[in-house]
Every structure is written in structure tokens, then in C-alpha cells.
């Protein structure tokens, strides 16, 4: 299941969990502990003295309430009229009662029911199974304009009338003897029977909504549409055993007493849309006062929530026998007195629930009241309750739930931060909301000294702030949030401290710096300074850490970090200020300050933060190693083409080699590594001053190869080759020299070098070689073999004819066979290739001649009717080009289309002069 659905589901679950619980009946077991909600207060309205005094036999039989009018029917056939006045003194509500008229109906029968028809100003009276009417004020009988309705067992008024006439009252009437229900329309001057429906069994209670009669029959409930006759069985109920309850509670919805002491809901379709509430078996009356179902049984008034079906309150009430609601006002009567069940203000109920930490219920109640409260007011209330709920759960360390409630309640995150001492910046303008959302002074108060609790809360705040940061929730208080987060991170040694500082943040420097110092987070402090544009302070702190003045192990490579930092730093004063420090610690690393830095592009406008390499070189004068690295960087990596740099580097290399050679302790590997570098530079670079270097190594007999290279640079190839061949006797090096010396030159130059080399090999006038006697002849033989190998190995570069002139007479043919063979084959090949090319050229020439003659034979027609095949425009002048097949096109079109060297182009060339 996707996480995005979680939010709504959580709410639904919350609500439903409660439903299940309640319906499972554990309310019975738990109610004593759970029932701290005070949803209602029972307020006396009419005391016994006002009604019957101490006449013991007189009982209240029925009541009716209409606005301020309260009517009471008694068993001795009296109707009492009172005016009920609400008064509130010191927040407690009470009723003052004014006695009005009392009327005796003259029958010695009890008054069974009273209903006000206020539009008609009548009171409908059921007495002695007969319906009659009296005036609401005078209680005088009013003629009902025809026969009285007799044989009535019970009746009800349609609170959702189908007749649009406001002066018409609709009535459902149960007949006492027949199995019928009648529907009457009651007008000012007459009573009209509209419908009579027979029922399968004797009905005993009725309620009417629109066309729907909800009936209790002797063994079941049913719903009957008196207009269509459609009937719907609801469920079985033994009305003889227990008094049925049929109570309309809203549009097309009824509340019914069900077996097992249940209060069942049923709509006009016969469907239950709410889970039942669990009353006692002896329930006498029930009503809905949203969001509660109140019911009366032999000893108690019970209050169940319709939202979660839980029992919320129980009020003891002896001898109760009537519970009815009149326009939302729940009125109860014992046999002797009348009371009003006054709902407490919703907010107070909610606060009571919260005070008892009953978060779910409080929220359910709040959300359930949504429709009864104006939208804007509801939203404020809802948010506040959510926030309070969140804090309660927070206090219980139920962080997930708390977070969800903070989020949905759009809590000002500073409310939460402010619980944690010292986290809010001193400059914050925040003050907690009033009345407070919770009773905690601060975290210590909440945790009661339990450090583990404190830690848990802190970790929670870290995650919470981390999440809030990225949302709009932090708008307007980003500084507070980020500062608090930074402090927490620092204090908790949290890895994200650096991430926070390295990314955009609103941490307040003034507040955070001392905090970071306190927690020895100097590296982080540097980052903070840097983020606030105070690089000098940043580096200063870091340098002190590296120097061991301050302790912070965040980065073991802080020195490298500083170097890296300086290499990016645009404040050159800072760079120069700390370069010395960095170089003194380690030249190879310190030099990165300069080598990692992007170089000044020549003549770019923005030169800030750019360093002139010459300045660096001058500066590095005293740091040899760094200087060398820097020059290498410029010359080898950046490939800067400046004679000065190249020469400087070559000189440094040379000096190093020379000094190594001078020290007897030098290792071979060291020397050869240094020489390799030097040689590479000498070979690859063309910019250094050759003569200068030549002068430097002239006297050193160990650097012959370098000398050869330098001669080569001066194009003194014979000198170079002479060194290589006669002094070094390194023939592969000599051959490699030829390749190197002629690289990027033409073939002739290469040939020239090879011939030179051959010449050097065959030169007999070398003093050293001729004077050595047998050794010399040996040497000569060696050179001759080198010459032979050269010829046989690289015969293709030589001019064979010249070579033949050079080689000594005495050489055998066999010796040079590979060279000669290749030379012969080569010249043969060249000959034949040219023959072939010649033949091909001839044949093409003939072919073209043929085409030309063919074209000439027929005229090419050009007219202004026929367009050019390429651009489709007409021809305006006779010049044209003829494509193969005699298709004329514009000269420019043809030129545009034709790719150079294609056959068409060639054809073009041949045809362009025809018209």
C-alpha cells in the first residue's frame, strides 16, 4: 500500500478502531475508567411541587416542548402549560419556570400524548384513544372541523412533510384495533385522511419521514412507503416482550431498539449505515443530540457517540420514563418532574477529552462536528485540537502520531522548538501561543529528569525539523528552524551538521558560532563563517585546529581541506597570507593552492581571484620542491607555451640531475627517474633555450643522450648521431632519433636523416674507430652490421640508388639481399602502378570523347515553356548544362547540386559549352 495513502487511512483507522472496540462490548468493562467526558448536564426544569405537590398518585404521562412552551400531560387528565426560561449564572445554566394555564380534559383518563402544531397554534392531544386539539395558549378545545380521529393507539408528526403547505401538519396514526396505519393531513379547519395502509401485524410504534413510515410491529420492524406501498422488513423484534423504539433521527434515518439492547440505525432503504450502539436491554427512550445518542433506561441516562459508538457518559436517573428531543433539546421526565439534558459546549468537551489524554476521541468529536460549525471557525478549532493532540502524543513519546498531527494541524514549528531550552535564537520574535497548547514548561519538565526521554525527544526534533525545512511549514521562521537544527546536530554529533552548512541554510551566525565553539565543532564553525562570507575567520579557525591549538577531529585531512579551500578562495590576500603556512607544512600538498586554481585566461575581463603565474614563481623561489611542481604543472599539465617557463623547468631538471650525479650516494633509480623527466622535456618541448642547456651539460659526459637531443633541436643531426653512434654506441637510440627528428616532417627529411645515419655508420674516418686496431676493426664491423641492419630493416625510407653508391664495395649481395629485394620490388611496383594509372586515364578520356560526340549529334532544346529539372524555373538565357540523357538544367543549379569530382561534374565540364 502506497505511503501517500497513509495519511487518510490513519484517520479512518483511528475512527474505525474505536468503532470496533465499542461494538465488541468492552465498553461495559471499561466505562468506569473511560468515562470522563462530560457531554451533558442534567438540569432540573419543572419540580414536583409545581405539578402535583405531594399527591402521590399523580404521574407525568407525556410531555411536549415547543420553543419556550412546555406542556405536560398527566395521568389524571390534566394538561399543564409552562414557560421555560434559560438563565446562565456564573457559567452554570438553569431554568426558571413560569406556570401558565392548567386544563382538565374531563375524562379521568391519562393524557397519552401531546404534540404541538405550532403553525396552527394547536396542541394535538391523544387521550382515551382519541385525537383532539386544543389552543396552544388557552388550552381551549378547538373543533377539528369534522369527526374526531378515534381508536388511536399512537401517532406521530411528519418532520419531513411531503405537503408544501406550511399550515398543514402531516400525521401518522396507528389504529388501536385494526392492523392499519393512517396518514392524515391536519389543516386549520379540517382533518383529512390521506392514506390507509394495512400491515401484516399489529403496529405499536410509528415514525414518519417523507413518505416513509417506520413501524414497530409485534414481531419486527419495517419500513413502508405509503405512497408506493413498497415495504421493507428490517429485523425481528419482540415488541410484546420489550418496548420498541422507533425514532426518526434525521432525513430518512431512524434509530431503533434492537434485540440484545442495541440501538440500530436504519435508513429508508432498510440499510444500516452506522454501526449500532450498545444500550441496556431495558431502554425506554432514545434521542440523538449530535454527535451523541442519548438513551434512558431504568436507572441511567447513557450517552454514546455516534462517531465511534463508544459509551461516553452515564448519568444516574431514577424513575425516568420519558426521554424526548424537541428541536435539539433533550427533555426527560420522571413520573414527577421534568429535566433538561443540556449539552456542554463542544469545545469544552473536547478540552475535557484532551485533558484526559483521549486524543483520538477528541479528534473524532472535533471532526464529527465539522458540519455544525462555520467553516472558518471549524478550521481554527480543528487545527488547534490537532496541535494539542500532537503535543499530548509528543509527551507520551508517540512521535509518529504527534508528527502527523503537527503536520495536519499546521503547527508553528517554533512551538515545538521552544520546548527545547536554548534552541531558538535569542533574536527570535517567537512567543508561545495563548492559551498554551500543552502544559509543559520545557523538555526537562516533560522528561522529569529522564535523560533517555530527553534524547528521544531531541532525535525526534531532528527528524521533524529536517522534514519541515523542506516544506512551506518553515516559511517565515527559517532562521529559527535552521539555527535550532544546527544546534541539535552539533550537540548530538550528528553527521548532517556538515550537510546543513554546506547547503543553503538560514543559520544565524551570531547564535550558532558560540554554540559550535562550545561543542568543539570548529570545522563546522569554519563552514558557517565561510557560508556567511567570512573566509578569513573560517581559515583562521581551521589553521588553529591543524596546528593543534583547538581540538576537533571532524576531518583528519583538514590540512588538505584548507589547501583545497585556498585553491578556490577568491580572496587573494588570504591566499598569500596562508600559502607560506601551507607550504611549510608540506610543499607537495601546499603547492596545490596554486596548481588546483584555475589559471588566468589571458586578457579575461574578470581578473579577481586570478593569480599571475609569474608572481607565484617568484613567490615559490624559496620553496624548491613546490616551485618545480608548479612549473611542471604549468608546462606539462597546462601546456603553457612560454619560453621562460620551459627553460626554467629544463634548468631545474638539469640542475637536479647534475646534483644527483654529483652526489655519490644517489641511487640509480633516482638518477634515471630524474633523467627521464629531463629527457622527456628536452624531446617534447621546442620552447626552451637550447644553447643555454647545452652549455650547462657540455661538460658532463654522463648526459650524452641529452646532448644528442639538444643537438637535434638545433638540427645538428650529424653531431647528434655522432654522439649516439660513436660515443654511446646506442644504435636503437640512433634509429629512434631519426624517427623523432623527422616526426612531423616530410618523407624527404626522414630520408635525409636515415642517409645521415647510414653515413655515420659507414664513416671510416672516425679517429676513435680506426686507431683502435683490432678492437677498431671490431668496432667497424659492429658499425657495418648496424648499417646492414638499418638498410634491411628500414629499406623503404632509403633511396636505393644513393645507397648503392654509399655501401662499401666489399659487401656481399647476400648481406643486403632483404634490402635489395625490397628496393627492387618497390621500384617495380611503382612502375606498374603508374602504367596502370596511365591506361585508366586514357580509357576515361576516350569514353568522354565518345559522350561528347553523342551529345553533339542532337540539339538540346531549351525553351521558356520547359523548366529546369532541378529548380523548375524557366530558362531566361540560352546557357545551360546538359545532364546525362540530354536533360537541360540551369548552369547554377547544376553547379549547386554537383559534388566535386562526381562523374556528373566531369560530364558538366564537357557539356557546359553547348547550348
Amino acid at each position: 500500500m502506497g505511503t501517500e495513502r497513509k495519511g487518510t487511512e490513519a484517520v479512518i483507522h483511528r475512527r474505525l478502531r474505536n468503532q470496533i472496540c465499542s461494538s465488541n462490548g468492552w465498553v461495559d468493562a471499561c466505562c468506569a475508567a473511560e468515562m470522563s467526558v462530560k457531554a451533558f448536564e442534567l438540569v432540573p426544569a419543572v419540580a414536583r411541587e409545581l405539578l402535583m405537590g405531594d399527591k402521590a398518585r399523580i404521574n407525568i404521562e407525556c410531555i411536549e416542548c415547543c420553543g419556550k412552551h412546555l406542556y405536560i400531560g398527566t395521568n389524571d387528565c390534566f394538561i399543564h402549560h409552562f414557560l421555560l426560561e434559560e438563565t446562565t449564572t456564573k457559567g452554570t445554566l438553569s431554568y426558571s419556570v413560569q406556570k401558565q394555564l392548567v386544563r382538565y380534559l374531563g375524562l379521568k383518563k391519562p393524557v397519552d400524548a401531546l404534540k404541538a402544531a405550532s403553525a396552527l397554534e394547536r396542541l394535538i392531544v391523544l387521550c382515551d384513544s382519541t385525537l383532539s386539539m386544543v389552543d396552544m395558549v388557552t388550552l381551549e378545545p378547538v373543533p377539528s372541523g369534522g369527526s374526531k380521529v378515534r381508536g388511536v393507539a399512537a401517532f406521530c408528526i411528519n418532520e419531513n412533510p411531503v405537503n408544501g403547505d406550511p399550515f398543514c401538519v402531516e400525521m401518522g396514526v396507528i389504529s388501536a384495533r385494526r392492523r392499519t396505519v393512517q396518514v392524515y393531513m391536519l389543516y386549520e379547519d379540517r382533518v383529512q385522511l390521506v392514506k390507509e395502509v394495512t400491515t401484516p401485524e399489529q403496529p405499536c410504534a410509528v415514525s414518519l419521514d417523507g413518505y416513509f413510515l417506520c413501524l414497530a410491529l409485534s414481531s419486527q420492524y419495517m419500513i413502508l412507503n405509503y405512497s408506493t406501498g413498497a415495504a421493507q422488513d428490517l429485523f425481528p423484534y419482540d415488541s410484546e416482550e420489550r418496548k420498541p423504539i422507533v425514532k426518526r433521527i434525521g432525513r430518512e434515518e431512524f434509530l431503533l431498539a434492537a434485540p440484545g439492547g442495541l440501538g440500530m440505525f436504519a435508513n429508508a432503504e432498510g440499510v444500516s449505515q452506522r454501526a449500532p450502539v450498545n444500550w441496556s436491554e431495558s431502554v425506554i427512550g432514545a434521542a440523538v443530540c449530535f454527535p451523541y445518542v442519548v438513551a434512558l433506561d431504568e436507572g441511567f441516562i447513557t450517552v454514546h457517540s455516534m462517531l465511534d459508538q463508544q459509551l461516553k457518559q452515564t448519568l444516574s436517573f431514577r424513575d425516568g420514563h420519558i426521554l424526548q428531543d424537541f428541536e435539539g433539546k433533550v427533555v426527560l421526565a420522571s413520573t414527577k418532574a421534568v429535566y433538561v439534558l443540556v449539552p456542554l459546549p463542544l469545545e469544552r468537551q473536547i478540552q475535557d477529552l484532551l485533558a484526559g489524554h483521549r486524543v483520538e476521541e477528541a479528534l473524532t468529536l472535533t471532526e464529527g462536528a465539522q458540519r455544525n460549525i462555520p467553516k472558518d471557525k471549524f478550521q481554527i478549532l480543528h487545527k488547534r485540537i490537532l496541535q494539542q493532540a500532537g503535543f499530548i502524543q509528543f509527551g507520551q513519546l508517540q512521535f509518529l502520531e504527534a508528527k502527523e498531527h503537527f503536520r495536519t494541524g499546521q503547527l508553528d514549528v517554533r512551538e515545538l522548538i521552544s520546548l527545547y531550552p536554548l534552541l531558538l535564537p535569542a533574536s527570535s520574535s517567537f512567543s508561545r501561543c495563548h492559551p498554551p497548547l500543552h502544559q509543559f514548561a520545557d523538555l526537562n519538565h516533560l522528561a522529569q529528569g529522564d535523560q533517555e526521554k530527553v534524547q528521544k525527544c531531541k532525535r525526534f526534533l531532528i527528524t521533524y525539523l529536517g522534514e519541515v525545512r523542506s516544506t512551506e511549514g518553515a516559511n517565515g521562521c527559517r532562521e529559527d528552524v535552521d539555527t535550532a537544527l544546527l544546534k541539535l546536530y552539533a550537540e548530538q554529533d550528528h553527521d548532517s551538521l556538515l550537510d546543513l552548512l554546506a547547503s543553503p541554510n538560514a543559520c544565524l551566525l551570531a547564535d550558532c558560532a558560540p554554540w559550535l565553539e562550545k561543542h568543539h565543532k570548529y570545522f563546522a564553525l569554519g563552514l558557517l563563517y565561510h557560508y556567511n562570507g567570512q573566509d578569513a575567520a573560517a581559515i583562521q579557525i581551521w589553521v588553529r585546529v591543524v596546528n593543534g591549538e583547538l581540538q576537533d577531529s571532524t576531518r583528519s585531512d583538514l590540512y588538505e581541506y584548507i589547501v583545497d579551500f585556498l585553491s578556490f578562495c577568491s580572496n587573494l590576500d588570504l591566499v598569500w597570507k596562508y600559502a607560506d603556512w601551507a607550504l611549510q607544512k608540506d610543499q607537495t600538498i601546499g603547492v596545490k593552492i596554486f596548481t588546483l586554481r584555475t589559471l588566468a585566461k589571458n586578457q579575461t575581463k574578470d581578473q579577481t581571484g586570478q593569480i599571475n603565474p609569474d608572481d607565484v614563481i617568484t613567490y615559490l623561489g624559496k620553496h624548491n620542491q613546490a616551485l618545480l611542481l608548479y612549473l611542471e604543472h604549468l608546462v606539462l599539465e597546462r601546456r603553457i607555451k612560454k619560453e621562460k617557463l620551459h627553460t626554467h623547468l629544463a634548468v631545474l631538471y638539469t640542475d637536479r640531475v647534475l646534483s644527483l650525479l654529483a652526489q655519490s650516494s644517489s641511487m640509480d633509480a633516482q638518477v634515471s627517474a630524474a633523467r627521464d623527466k629531463l629527457q622527456l622535456l628536452l624531446r617534447e618541448s621546442n620552447l626552451y633555450r637550447v644553447q643555454l642547456l647545452l652549455g650547462k651539460i657540455q661538460d658532463c659526459n654522463q648526459l650524452l643522450l641529452e646532448r644528442a637531443t639538444l643537438h637535434g633541436k638545433l638540427e645538428e643531426h650529424d653531431k647528434a648521431l655522432h654522439i649516439l653512434v660513436h660515443q654511446l654506441k646506442d644504435f636503437p637510440a640512433a634509429e629512434a632519433y631519426c624517427v623523432w627528428g623527422s616526426a612531423s616532417r616530410d618523407a624527404g627529411y626522414q630520408q635525409h636523416l636515415y642517409h645521415l645515419l647510414l653515413g655515420v655508420y659507414l664513416d671510416r674516418d672516425i679517429p676513435g674507430s680506426s686507431s683502435t686496431g683490432p678492437g677498431g676493426s671490431n668496432g667497424t664491423g659492429e658499425l657495418e652490421m648496424a648499417a646492414v641492419d638499418l638498410l634491411n630493416g628500414h629499406g623503404e625510407v632509403f633511396d636505393a640508388v644513393q645507397v648503392l653508391g654509399l655501401i662499401p664495395e666489399g659487401w656481399s649481395l647476400q648481406l643486403l639481399r632483404p634490402f635489395l629485394g625490397r628496393a627492387l620490388r618497390g621500384s617495380m611496383h611503382a612502375h606498374r602502378t603508374s602504367q596502370l594509372a596511365l591506361g585508366l586515364a586514357r580509357s576515361e578520356n576516350i569514353q568522354l570523347h565518345h559522350d561528347r560526340l553523342k551529345q553533339r549529334r542532337s540539339p538540346v532544346l531549351v525553351s521558356d515553356q520547359k523548366g529546369c529539372h532541378l529548380c523548375h524555373n524557366t530558362f531566361s538565357e540560352p546557357d545551360c548544362v546538359c545532364l546525362p540523357g540530354g536533360v537541360p538544367v540551369h548552369t547554377h543549379c547544376a553547379a549547386k547540386r554537383v559534388v566535386p569530382d562526381s562523374p556528373i561534374k566531369r560530364q558538366l565540364a564537357n557539356t557546359s559549352n553547348h547550348t
Partner: protein, 258 residues
């Protein structure tokens, strides 16, 4: 009287029926709360609203106690699916489905889907027992001695099959459930070939271990989707329901149990 708020109207209704103690409430708990916890015999009924994609599905948990039996028809009215639950270790609970609960579904939609669910699979010594791990402080549910306790329901098996000690508790075979499913379809006058096949609609679950519970509910949710869509269009058209519609169905002869 104030017009108080109704809960968000569900798009479709699923009802769980079955004898008391078979584990209806536990199944629903397991599905919605992902845990197995102590329950008390359900009073009346209760329901959950489940958000399934864009739809709200209400799942009614009914009371199995005889006392509340009469309310069943009302809960089933308009149901799109009925989950007939029995206890795999209690043969009687399967028989009761046919004896007592089937007729309650007469008020359900004509195209209602029926699932037969044998719960407490963990007690039958098959794989469900091994599907442990879905937390819940339930390990101390009296499993001493390695032999599972017999079901709390003391009813003896109707057919006196002699069971070995190993499969001590399994009293209802899958075939029994499958054949009940066939009889339900016949009772409903539905053509078996047009209905969902028995092997798809007979489940064995364990609310205790969670075995097959999600599969059960989520399979049904998918199956009632057509009903949801139809309800949505109907609700837009007319709010009334023809109450006569259901009159005939109750009078049909019941198929008897073997």
C-alpha cells in the same frame, strides 16, 4: 432536529458473516491493523471504512451470536460481497453457514459475490503455521506441549471422522467448503459456469498468523470493483431503491446440508 453529518458515504459494502468465535473480528483486525489481538464477542456489529484506491469500501463485521441473528439480513442488504466465515477446526461452524447464515444473504445484491473462508488455519498443522513473524503479542495463546488447543467451540464434528493426532484440529476439508460453495450458487439460482469458480472463492486463512488474510480482502476488493462503478452511476441517477425487489428471494427452497 439538526442535519448532522453523515460519514463519508461508502461506495460498496462487504459483509462478514459466520458463527460466533470463528474469528470474523480477528480477521478484520488483522487486515486493518496488521495484528492479532484479543477480541470480545461482537455485539451488534461494526464496520470499517477502507480506502481502496479512489473508492471507499465499508466492511461490516457482524455478531455471530444467535441473539443478533435477526440483524443479519439488514447488514446484508445491498452488499456486494459476503464473506462466509467458518472455523477450520470446527465442523459445526461450516454447517451453520448453510443452516443459519445463508438465508440472511437474500437481501444482498443479486450479483453479490460469495467467499467461503475457513479461518484458524494455524491450528490445522499446515503451512499457515509456519507463516509466523507477523508480530503481535500472541505467542502465549496457550500453545503448550506442542499440541494446538482445540477450538474454543466445543461442538463435535457432525461426521465422526477419526482424525489422527497430527491433524487433530482440522475438521473441515477444503472439499467440504468447495461443495458448499456449489450449493450456495445453486441456492442463489446462479449458473455455476457464469460465476467465479470455487477454487478462487474458497479461502483458508489465519487471523493469528496473517496467512492469506490480505489476499482474501484484496481479491474481494478487486472483484467488487464493477459493483462500485455501477453504484456510482446509479447514485447519480436515482436515489430510490425498489424495495419489492427482494420479496421473492426469501421464499425459495433452501438446499439442505448433506
Amino acid at each position: 432536529m439538526p442535519e448532522f453529518s453523515k460519514m463519508r458515504k461508502p461506495d460498496v459494502k462487504i459483509v462478514i458473516l459466520g458463527d460466533m468465535n470463528v474469528g470474523k473480528t480477528s480477521l478484520l483486525h488483522r487486515y486493518t491493523e496488521r495484528k492479532f489481538k484479543d477480541t470480545v464477542s461482537t455485539v451488534g456489529g461494526a464496520f470499517f471504512l477502507k480506502q481502496w484506491g479512489p473508492y471507499n469500501i465499508s466492511i461490516w463485521d457482524t455478531a455471530g451470536r444467535e441473539q443478533f441473528h435477526g440483524l443479519g439480513s439488514m447488514y446484508c442488504r445491498g452488499a456486494a460481497a459476503v464473506i462466509l466465515t467458518y472455523d477450520l477446526t470446527n465442523w459445526h461452524s461450516l454447517a451453520e453457514l448453510e443452516e443459519r447464515f445463508l438465508s440472511l444473504t437474500d437481501t444482498a445484491n443479486h450479483d453479490c459475490i460469495y467467499a467461503i473462508v475457513g479461518n484458524k488455519a494455524d491450528l490445522t498443522g499446515n503451512q499457515a503455521q509456519q507463516v509466523a513473524g507477523q508480530d503481535g503479542p500472541t505467542e502465549d495463546q496457550g500453545e503448550g506441549g506442542g499440541v494446538n488447543p482445540p477450538s474454543a467451540c466445543p461442538t463435535p464434528p457432525a461426521s465422526p471422522v477419526l482424525l489422527s493426532r497430527v491433524t487433530l484440529n482440522k475438521q473441515v476439508s477444503r472439499e467440504d467448503a468447495v461443495s458448499l460453495y456449489g450449493r450456495i450458487l445453486r441456492y442463489k439460482g446462479m449458473d455455476e459456469s457464469n460465476c467465479l469458480p470455487a477454487d478462487k472463492m474458497c479461502f483458508e486463512t489465519s487471523a493469528k498468523t496473517g496467512y492469506n488474510v490480505d489476499a482474501l480482502f484484496e481479491t474481494l476488493f478487486d472483484m467488487v470493483l464493477p459493483s462500485i462503478l455501477r453504484n456510482r452511476t446509479e447514485r447519480e441517477q436515482s436515489p430510490t431503491v425498489d424495495l419489492e425487489d427482494h420479496k421473492e428471494t426469501g421464499k425459495r427452497t433452501r438446499a439442505r446440508c448433506c
